[in-house]
Amino acid sequence: MISRTIRIRDADDKKLASISRRLGLALSLDEMKAVRSYFDKVGRDPIDAEIHAVAQSWSEHCSYKSSKYYLKKYLGSLKTDYTILAMEDDAGVVDFDGEYAYVLKMESHNHPSAVEPYGGAATGIGGIVRDVLCMGAQPVALVDSLFLGDVSSDRYEGLLSPRYIFGGVVGGIRDYGNRIGIPNVAGSLYFDKLYNSNPLVNAGCIGIVRKDRIVRSKSYKPGDVLVLMGGKTGRDGIHGVNFASATLGKVTKSSRLAIQLGNPIVEQPMIKAVLEANDAGLLRAMKDLGGGGLSSAATEMVYAGGFGAEIVLDEIKLKESNMSGWEIWISESQERMLMECYPEDVDKIRQIAEKWNLDFSVIGKVTEDRRIRVYYRNRKIIDMDIEFLDDSPVYQRPYKIRERDRSVTIPEEPEDLNSFVMEFMARLNTCARFNVVRQYDHTVRGSTIITPFVGRPNRETHSDATVIKPLEGSMRGLVITSGSRPNMVAADPYAGTLLTMVEAYKNILSTGGTPHSVVDALNFGNPEREEIMGQFVESVKAIGDFCRKTGLPVVAGNVSFYNEYRKTDIMPTPTIMMVGLIDDVRRSRTTYIKGSGNVLYLIGEPCDNLTGSEYNRMHGHSDGYLPSPDLDELMRIRDFLSSKRDFILSSHDVSSGGLLAALSEMSFGSGIGFHADLSNVSAARPTVKLFSECGNGMVVEIPRDMEGSFVDGSTEISIKRLGETGGDRIIIDEAGLNLIDITVEDLRNAWEHGLDNYI
């Protein structure tokens, strides 16, 4: 059927609700009423494509209706003079070196990955790459932060087993990312049973573009031609955004249909073709087809330019010939790009598409009046006021802030720290990520300077951040890190989010970079519950406060709500991707100990609090009082490290797994051990000093003969001498009394193989 009319003008409330349900619109009763009154005014009933178009534009996914108010309130004014585009187009754009800009974005792909882990994660990569590509940028790095269920347990509640999801998600990212040839260089991996049925897949991408080649996602001029390039349009991914904007239920045929199917071997040549067309100066505006398909892309692009559009669907290449007009209009088939060009350039773009064996169709033009008109097989299927479509409702949802817990728990000390530490470093959340990350090509394009692993080949350790050198003619590098500390955010959304920001910041400082810009992907439960909304508001407030303090811009973001299963919400998970700059990639610093006889220092006041730490959580304590990190101290640490950079041989931040994990990982990369004494650190118990994960702590390695120069002028910050490097053992004492004495290799082996049973 080409189209049909939906009778809503004479529908009562009950009927309106049933129409929304039957058509899979996911619109609330109030929203349906607003649609009814619009068509009352117009004086006719809507055509199916029109009501579907409204549902796309007004979905939580596309409209941010629950989050917009708070995002604006807390993150609205965060811009710097080097920010080119923040929170405007599909991705953020930031100055790189005066001539070039880098483009960045991160997005969640949670609901699809819960139902179809492999395909959901794969299209997550495809989608984020197109967000960066549509700004005219060459993608240079992929990032993924994953939060998955408890793979060590055989128990699970619903949908799919966590281990199956783990394998599927990693496989999807691997097969899509490796095939398009963009290095996957950074990210994070966290496990907890609260993600069992609702895994989080946050994919990020960074690109590079010459500033005069930036393409906007807003229409340029009436009369310009709209063309579609890439793959074919099919029934895959119908109602994907509506599905992603509601709570997960049973896996049904329609929820599976809502999952898009990715094809990296269309995406890869599409990247080439788009960049070739952009190099030739043929593109006036561009937007990728993601959530909401052509409906969202076309509407948002012409709306942003202040125009309308007239579109004919007939030329669009279809996977199935019997599709209705509304299905073509909202299909979320992957690997498609909407472009706007001058009429005289259409053939030049067509030739480029042909060279790369891509489908190409002319679909319409930009119009002066602010209406969207869509035709299919000689019938008009949409004729609507664009303001109404884009003017989605905004909710200032009520929220409740949970009262702060004032208690602090310190679990009983393990009897034998040596055997405890062997077990601790092999735990899911502290062990090595080799089994996952080695499946991703992180050296393709030949621009990865610091890879996710550093140290002896095949005997490496983790790096803090990775470094990409995006331009052949410049030594300047991008320093990239991504992650979240849901263990901390769950204990205290405000302090925990600050700690997430601090970790990202420290990762960049540690690698020798200067933090430069921030992108967030905010994953929360059901926003209709006040305590969940409270977590969200606190978290966004923390991001705003951190960025104001540090002078960083938030240039792009993404919100994913309704991450719950059977009324159990996920841990609140604000993922932060932070990008820093380094003037010369050859000055990048790595985490592994460089030699024997050097000195180790702990920088930053120890926070001596186990709340949220892996150590407390493994003992069954997940709540308690969590102090906020001192951001003034962080600024002093930044300045200190920068003034002392020539003395620092290696550095590593203290975060997940505490000081013990930080020191051990520094040894793992070279096999060089150390002898440290904790009595200098603080008066707390040894286990508190070893396993606390809060605060601004960083460990640095200094040559012994530079010690004086390093310490000189450090009165403004806390620096504590821990001990010396050397030998092949990890030896930790407290006031001369030995606590831990094991070989680096034994501990490294336990750490290296922690994931072996699961992937």
Binding site: R174, N178, R179, I180, G181, N263, P264, I265, V266, Q268, P269, E354, K355, W356, N357, V437, R438, Q439, Y440, D441, H442, T443, V444, R445, G446, S447, T448, I449, T451, V454, G455, R456, P457, N458, E460, E472, V585, R586, S670
Partner: protein, 257 residues
């Protein structure tokens, strides 16, 4: 003297062309991309180049055996021209997926007797290893022969060289066709993960009988400068990639070989 012109062959899914392009350029060659559709439309000819490189990637997705479709399309659009090119003695190099392509084209050996198959680990392996030169190939001899192991990245899922019979191996050695072997920092080894895919006899790279068709799984183009190297190798004067591509360009320029 003319700058040697090096053609870099592309099709959908080829994705290692950027690093090959810059490596050729940095070493003083003149790189040029040629897509199979450039060849089929007559826009470009393989005979216009002094050397050809098939870079890595996932040509056509590699959903069936790696490299098969690229090989079939290349043979269809320029089978005879490539045959002439190779017969004239010009270098024709395949890296990673490109190695799989030239194996499928039968340019190195009879396809029934040598194949590139799934890694023994059953996984995609992205890591660093070393390679040691084991032949007397004139292109690379001066830079690599008797100079020990060279650090190099690998990134593939189907890189294991398997032979139908030990006698094939014997002939490869007799013909001096084994160009590089996987090594650890001290020398040739068959241990995983230094031999990342379980290749027979730790073989990382093969040539045809005449030494001008060259296939290798590792990626020298991703380690052109010392700052791209890992650990101690980052302090070396010259990284593997520069030696590799300098050798090729100087050979093409007639400086050695």
């Amino acid at each position: 003297m003319n700058i040697p012109k090096v053609g870099i062959l592309l099709m959908e899914g080829t994705n290692n062309e950027t690093e090959v392009y810059f490596s050729v350029k940095r070493s003083g060659g003149h790189p040029d991309y040629l897509h199979v559709s450039d060849i089929s439309s007559g826009r470009k000819n393989v005979s216009d180049y002094d050397a050809l490189i098939v870079p890595g990637g996932f040509s056509a997705g590699d959903y069936i055996r790696a490299g098969v479709i690229f090989a079939a399309r290349l043979s269809a659009v320029a089978g005879r021209e490539i045959g002439d090119f190779v017969d004239s003695g010009k270098p024709f190099i395949g890296i990673c997926n490109g190695f799989q392509v030239i194996m499928e084209m039968g340019l190195i050996w009879n396809r029934e007797e040598i194949t590139l198959t799934n890694n023994e680990s059953g996984r995609f392996e992205c890591r660093y290893t070393y390679m040691t030169m084991t032949s007397n190939n004139p292109i690379f001899r001066d830079a690599f022969r008797d100079k020990g192991p060279f650090q190099v990245p690998v990134a593939h899922a189907e890189g294991r060289i398997a032979v139908s019979d030990r006698s094939v191996l014997k002939k490869l050695y007799e013909n001096d066709q084994v160009l590089f072997k996987y090594s650890d920092p001290n020398g040739i080894t068959d241990d995983y993960p230094w031999n990342p895919n379980g290749s027979v006899d730790s073989i990382a790279s093969l040539t045809n009988e005449y030494g001008n068709v060259i296939g290798l799984m590792p990626h020298p183009e991703r380690i052109y400068y010392p700052y791209q190297a890992m650990y101690d190798d980052s302090r070396k004067d010259q990284a593997t990639g520069k030696l590799f591509y300098d050798s090729l360009i100087s050979y093409l320029s007639g400086v050695h070989g």
